[in-house]
Amino acid sequence: MGVVLGLYCSGTLLLAAIAAVPLGRARLGSIAVYAACLAVSLVALINALAALLGLAPASDAVLPIGLPWLGAHFRLDPLAAFFLIVVDLGGAAASLFALGYGRHEPAPRRVLPFYAAFLAGMNLTVLADDAFSFLLSWEFMSLTSWALVMAHHRERDNARAGYVYLVMASFGTLALLLAFGLLAGPAGAYGFDAIRAAHPGETAVALVLILALLGAGSKAGLVPLHVWLPLAHPAAPSHVSALMSGVMTKVAIYGFVRIAFDLLGAPGWWAGMTVLVLGGITAVMGVLYALMEHDLKRLLAYHTVENIGIIFIGLGLSLAFRADGMILAAALALTAALFHVLNHSLFKSLLFLGSGAVLAATGERNMDRLGGLIRRMPRTAFAFLIGCVAISALPPLNGFVSEWLTFQAILLSPDLAQWGLRIASVSVGALLALSAALAAACFVKAYGISFLGRPRSESAARAREVDAWSTGTMILLAALCLLAGILPGFVIDALAPLARPLVGANLPAQSAMSWLTIVPIAASRSSYNGLLVFLFIASSGGLAAFAIHRLASRTLRRAPPWDCGFPEPSPFAQYSSVSFAQPIRRVFGSVVFRAREAVTMPAPGDARPALLAVTLRDPAWDAIVAPVARAVGFAAERMNYLQFLTIRRYLSLVFAALVAILLILAIWQ
């Protein structure tokens, strides 16, 4: 049991990846590979659950590979176990979905080997217990996911998505490499236990924290390092999108938590402030981006950015509380963030799988060509609706619980010592509330445009419900979302062994409370009972539906002849995703995205249609990525000169470099 079993699972996945190379040609090859991935993920999931619930003690293992004097250390402690649950739950769901969805894959040989290897990479990253194996697995995970992004490399924009992703992933790994280099110190102690024992100076702590924020943040999608995410996540096959968005971003969060909470000792309050503010900006920006989007998968990818922001708000609060010695509040914020990690992995996997089902049924990702799918694909529509409600943080689903816990932590922030932190956390609370409201608007749009109304295209009108594997997976994930929402106390209790070593305290045991209520701080302050809310909503909703059907539907009604444009036979008279977002685009977009609308009205008598063109600029791309790219291009252009020197010139350069280093040595000492 424990880490050894986890390593066996990763090894089996790697073997499956190798076996998938020849199997990709076989007719049932993809089913075999996905079934193997499913089985291994389930075993790893049970193993991690046992470790988290304390059935198996924390265990470690050393493999004689990697650096000769170090070996490869692996360890399964509660933090790793929790993230392993997230990884393997997502992996199992995606594999189960792919049992049916994989049939639509045009080039399985480009997907299968990398899919299994990607799962193995994520497992190994979480299990790693020294900097070398961590970075190696991290980079392996990045590269395999890059290969999956490039699976459909002939489609428009996918090559660019892969390129941007590769650049950002390399940048992130570089930042993490430097962070671990600083952590290891001059002695090169790369084992995590040696790093934990060392106490770096204040400058080193600050640098490591910023580098970890850059490295993990670029992988997770922290604004402004998120630019690759909405390009790359939708480009992959949908079950891989679900993995990348729902799970891989969580591995990045794991990296940040591991460094900032576990390895780094205690950074000052400014660390919490930085993370908090970045999280708040990320949350609002992510949801605003998502609202402007009309491609279903890109919308979901932008929403991942928003949820990463919410998670980072929780982490930042926890860092701030910990620096001020309020360990119970720190435990609350950390629990909220980690709970949201689990929740987001559940509903984002569900939504991406749902978008994959829509893509398989209609061949469309553009919401303005969908519509009316609730009648054609009722099971997918139901599961997608649950996911939408969950991600919009509406009770009684799981998204509400974790955001509510985050708000509880924000409400404790007036007790903080620093004025800056108090003001920052209250403003971030306002940002969080704004992003929650905008997220709800965004998913009303996503669901309403895609599933309600009338079909906007021929392919949407002819959509057929997807296979039983796919719908089964989605309904399973929806059930898990509901379960985590109405029984949050068990999740919070399971997170207790994580919080204690990281912040020094954990929340009081929730399962001891009566009626499954959760009381994070004190009953006089706040409490929430998901089960009661669920029962109330279910009963009142059922009663209302019954009453309407019994009393209203059967009675004779007089309706107005001109009913909100609905009698108009053309489906284009309906709301479109662009028109739905117009109010919000006018309020926020004109400032943030410099949104401009240009109306081209043909002259009377002209038969051309009138056009409304909306242009948006991406501030993160314009302000940060594009200048950096230009600077790199400029430098590369200048350095190009070096490629065409004579041999003697090259020797002179070597010579000059040597002399310069010696001179520095002579002056320095």
Binding site: Y641, F644, L645, T646, I647, R648, R649, L651, S652, V654, F655, L658, V659, L662, L663, L665, A666, Q669
Partner: protein, 220 residues
């Protein structure tokens, strides 16, 4: 006795640096090769002296390799190459001899400053040896950089390697196998470069590497 040991080692290492300087201002290839043979011979003496007072008999093997290969075989072979190519007059320097010498003096000063400080804890003989060895390496590199003729670049390369051997013997405990493999790799490098010389000559009728650069269409 200790003073004599130290002074002799110092003298021989200093002689190696001096020969490197002499290499720098040669403008005939035969003379260059002769000085290079002398360079290797002094290296042989220096290594043999180290072997004697360190009581390390295997260093005598190193000295023998230096004498056999570098002082006799390679200069002779290079002489034959030069004779067959008929290029004994061609030593073209990039910058003037005077400024090269000045740069060389600055390099020696630099290596003294660096090495004597860095090795503050080491034995005095090793310190001096390392400082002189670094000077020889830098001078060899300087020679490679400031010459256009391929043969004098080889000589610069070989003299640089002599500096490395001096450093290696000064530092106690360098295994014999490393010495032999270094000597062997130098021989291989020499053979490869020699073959290339003839190929270059065949193709371009000169061993001036500017011809190569022109052929590759490069800037200078």
């Amino acid at each position: 006795m200790d003073n004599l040991v130290f002074d002799t080692a110092h003298l021989l290492a200093g002689g190696l640096v001096l020969m490197s300087f002499v290499l720098l201002y040669q403008d005939r290839l035969y003379a260059l090769l002769n000085i290079f043979a002398l360079h290797a011979a002094i290296l042989t003496l220096a290594v043999a002296w180290q072997a004697w007072f360190q009581h390390e008999p295997h260093l005598f093997v190193t000295a023998a390799i230096a004498l056999g290969f570098k002082a006799i075989a390679i200069p002779l072979a290079l002489r034959r190459i030069v004779a067959r190519l008929g290029i004994h007059r061609e030593v073209e320097t990039v910058i003037g001899i005077g400024s090269t010498m000045l740069a060389g003096m600055a390099l020696v000063a630099l290596s003294m400053v660096v090495m004597l400080r860095v090795t503050a804890g080491a034995a005095p003989i090793a310190r001096e040896d390392l400082a002189f060895a670094l000077a020889v390496v830098l001078l060899g590199l300087l020679m490679m950089v400031t010459r256009r003729n391929a043969v004098s670049q080889i000589v610069g390369f070989m003299s640089m390697e002599n500096g490395l051997v001096l450093a290696a013997t000064g530092a106690k405990g360098m295994p014999l196998v490393v010495e032999i493999s270094v000597a062997f790799s130098i021989l291989i490098a020499f053979i490869v470069i020699g073959v290339f010389l003839f190929r270059i000559r065949e193709r371009f009728d000169t061993v001036d590497i500017r011809a190569l650069d022109r052929f590759r269409g490069e800037r200078r």
